[in-house]
């Protein structure tokens, strides 16, 4: 994004504070454009005026250009299942956030047996891992043409398309690719790959079928030439594959190419290579060794490039020891560091509490909440857990920062009607909130006990302190 301040965006807006966009003021709308939660097109008056007035149309186009992400966004697939890749604006996640998680595509090839194909496809679509309140899943299939036969390839691609997931079509032979596209172009697969030798045919396919295209070259001058040629010819959805070498100096070179591409796109503002990057950890299967060794190394390569800038990847291993760390790491790296992970504030009953059960309070910062909740649940402590809205901050920080206050505790006690649920008025606060003890007692009229510094020690603490005298 070329602009950094809401003021720069505000200049382009109607400045009427009409509120049609859902925000109170144009300045507020501008701030949301800057943090990328809305787009300029979400301003109805601007859109309407642009239709009538070419000058305003120009203004809108200018604003879109100024506020579009540094790295182009590419969509693979169709409808609800489609995934967006690229669209990044920063090289370090703490500078804002990373936006579109790396797409994970899994290897299928057209000479595998039908049974094996069905097994692999099922594994991909069925995989799920519960994490922070949701299930992590895989994105799609990369279908390789190993038959070198257009009809065979076409048939297998059609079959895999039936699963409804996004696809990458992997075939260097333009005839095979054409056959597959005739069947599934509407599914908007990513085609792989245009190279120095087949680029003319692939450019033709990309234009004719309007599908995103990967260009592949180890030499970054050549990669840029290809990207520029495609761009000039009218292809906007381009993915760059700087060639993943799985070992030794080759891997060191791959790391350098990937880092240089992303850095030059964002910091160097080179629009000609500002496209999503593909890395193919599947290349680990070219090294010597057994399946476990290859799968381990593939997972290492995947992890390395999840952290460093890959927007889409092709993998082979469907072993849990590969999938679990990769989906977890991807989630961690792409979590928005600006908005702490929060849970719903309120009252949470643990292990069927009754009127004599203790009442605890914690914050709505997800890591804090889930820790306390799981500690209480694991130790089977029947209790009431009050969850205070601290704007997603942890105990220590919110006490210091004023998000955890006696006044807010009082409000929470009233809102949750906890007084009607228990026959005592004793509240246990976190050890790290000890200094609020007096203030909460004064404000609420409850007796406040200071619990342990760590919720893992609540059980032992209760033995000495519950029931209260």
């Amino acid at each position: 994004m070329k602009v950094k301040s809401p003021l720069e965006v505000y200049k382009f807006l109607p400045q009427t504070n009409c509120g049609e966009c859902g925000f109170d003021t144009c300045m507020s709308f501008a701030a949301h454009i800057i943090d990328r939660s809305v787009k300029p097109e979400s301003c109805p008056p601007l859109l309407k005026d642009a239709e009538k007035d070419p000058k305003i149309k120009k203004k809108l186009e200018q604003l879109i250009e100024l506020t579009s992400p540094e790295v182009a966004e590419v969509v693979i697939g169709r409808g609800d299942m489609a995934i967006k890749i690229g669209g990044e604006d920063v090289v370090h996640r703490h500078e804002m956030t990373y936006f579109n998680p790396t797409g994970f595509f899994y290897d299928i090839w057209d000479t595998m047996s039908e049974k094996e194909l069905e097994e692999r496809c099922s594994k991909v679509i069925e995989f799920k891992k519960f994490y922070v309140g949701k299930f992590l899943t895989l994105d799609g299939f990369a279908i390789r043409c190993t038959s070198d036969d257009p009809e065979t390839y076409k048939g297998v691609v059609k079959k895999v398309a039936g699963y409804g997931k996004p696809m990458i079509l992997v075939a260097l032979n333009p005839e095979c690719m054409r056959a597959a596209l005739e069947e599934v172009a509407e599914e908007k697969p990513l085609i792989y790959a245009a190279t120095e030798s087949n680029w003319r045919e692939f450019l033709k396919l990309a234009l004719e079928f309007k599908v995103p295209v990967t260009i592949r070259a180890k030499d970054l001058d050549l990669l840029k030439s290809l990207a520029l040629t495609f761009k000039n010819a009218g292809v906007n959805e381009i993915v760059l594959d700087p060639v993943t070498e799985p070992l030794g100096e080759g891997l060191k070179g791959t790391y350098e190419r990937v880092v240089n591409l992303r850095r030059t796109a964002i910091q160097g503002e080179d629009r000609d290579i500002a496209f999503p990057i593909m890395v193919t950890p599947i290349a680990a299967w070219l090294i010597e060794g057994d399946d476990v060794e290859k799968a381990y190394w593939e997972t290492v390569l995947g992890s390395l490039f999840i952290v460093k800038y890959a927007d889409v990847m092709i993998f082979r291993s469907l072993e849990p020891y590969s999938l679990l760390p990769l989906v977890t790491l991807r989630f961690n790296i792409y979590t928005d560091p600006r908005t702490p992970v929060q849970v719903e504030p309120g009252l949470k009953p643990i292990a069927e509490p009754d009127e004599s059960s203790p009442v605890f309070i914690t914050t709505n910062f997800a890591l804090t909440y889930y820790t306390v909740e799981s500690d209480l649940t694991s130790a089977n402590i029947s209790s009431w857990l009050l969850v205070l809205d601290t704007e997603g901050l942890g105990v220590e920080v919110s006490v210091a920062g004023g998000q955890f206050t006696a006044g807010k505790v009082k409000e929470l006690i009233e809102e949750t009607k906890i007084e009607e649920k228990v026959n005592h008025k004793v509240l246990v606060i976190p050890g790290l909130a000890a200094r609020l003890q007096g203030a909460i007692e004064d404000e609420t009229g409850w007796t406040v006990k200071v619990g342990p510094m760590d919720s893992g020690r609540i059980k032992g603490w209760l033995e000495d302190n519950w029931p209260p005298e």
Partner: protein
Amino acid sequence: MVMGKMSIDQFFELLKKYDIEVLEGVTIEGDLEIEVEEGAAVDQSALAYLYTVVQEIQNFLYYANVAMGHLNNVSNLLGMPNPFAAAPAAPAAPAAPAAPEAVAEVAPVPEVKIPEELVKAKFEPFRVEYPGKIQEVVLGATKKDGGTRGEVVVLGGERSLPFYLFDAPQPNLPAIAIDIFDRKPALAKAVREHYEDVLEDPADWAKKAVKKFGADLVTLHLISTDPLLEDTPAKEAVKVLEDVLQAVKVPIIVGGSGNKEKDPEVLEKAAEVAEGERIMLASATLDMDWERIANAAKNHGHVVLSWTQMDINNQKTLNRYLLKRAEMRPEDIVMDPTTAALGYGLDYAFTNMERIRISGLRGDSDLAFPMSSGTTNAWGAREAWMVSSPIEEDSDWGARELRGPIWEIVTGLTLSLAGVDMFMMMHPGAVAVLKEIMETLGGKISGSVADPGDWIFMKE
């Protein structure tokens, strides 16, 4: 760097064993391989998404002094720089030639115009140069410097982000220390089985860590000094340190029990008996008598590990105390900004470390120290040690013997990319793989595959 005795090949040989077990459908006995402490029973049916953040890690690693502490602190990180603020200066982008309109408007019946030649272009990589340099810290002392170590380990010295050799050479690649303990600790099964024969003897344990598993350093945790355990007097506990110094020639790191009152005394005694060996005292923290530990290091020529709980500001504060109040030399400080496991706060640990490293490179001399990571914390993640997922809807988790090491590897690898200079680890396979990838990125491993494009045509 000492080359690993356990090669990556041997590691995979070892893993194969488990693969066969899985194929044969051998059930691995037991639910919890972490010996959970009294009063901390683990209910697997709990819908606890972030299950272990403090509880298990503390149970498991409380003694290791590399435990992560209170994750509440991580939210301090959320004071991120305002995205509206910084506008990095950058050279003007070359103007892209406009697309010819005839091509842009493709007719429904495709009649596309394909150029004959590629547009010529030159890729000019954007260069980044930082004004600062990370302090070099030497651990261990050889005979010529009054010690008895065979080799020293040098940490730090970076002028660029990790493994960005295209920006600046990286004089010292990260080192790996293996954790050992002065009493039998609670360990995950997959880790314990590699040390079963040496758990009773720290000197033998150290030897195995170095000779068999290729540790560059050894971290000795004097956990028996904990007043809640044996409460071994400091003077007695440090005899084990003398044994370990005798047993191996690599530099040594010494940790206490994590008891804030007792640790200063334990580390003081350790500093005395290791005079001349340039060990690292682990750790000084803000909530203990850090000055006493700093003085012990100063008086006996050692290094201090400055440990904070995932908070860049606290890290800066503690480092300044050590530098300004305790008057330590910058070449005697290493930082531990706290490691959280993959899935259990790794994102916070990564970003905290990355911010610290970038600050150091940009010239903040209060943060320009090498970083150490308690990577063993990865074993606190339930995915690393549980037999199967406690969440019913989850896909099968597979054999945990294969999950555990990769959890430690990915945790370490991620943090290596944030700038960690030293990893404290336990699983020998994880040590071997992490070392392999870091040496590869560091340019120490030659070769490649014949054609990296061959995967496109693989027929199996």
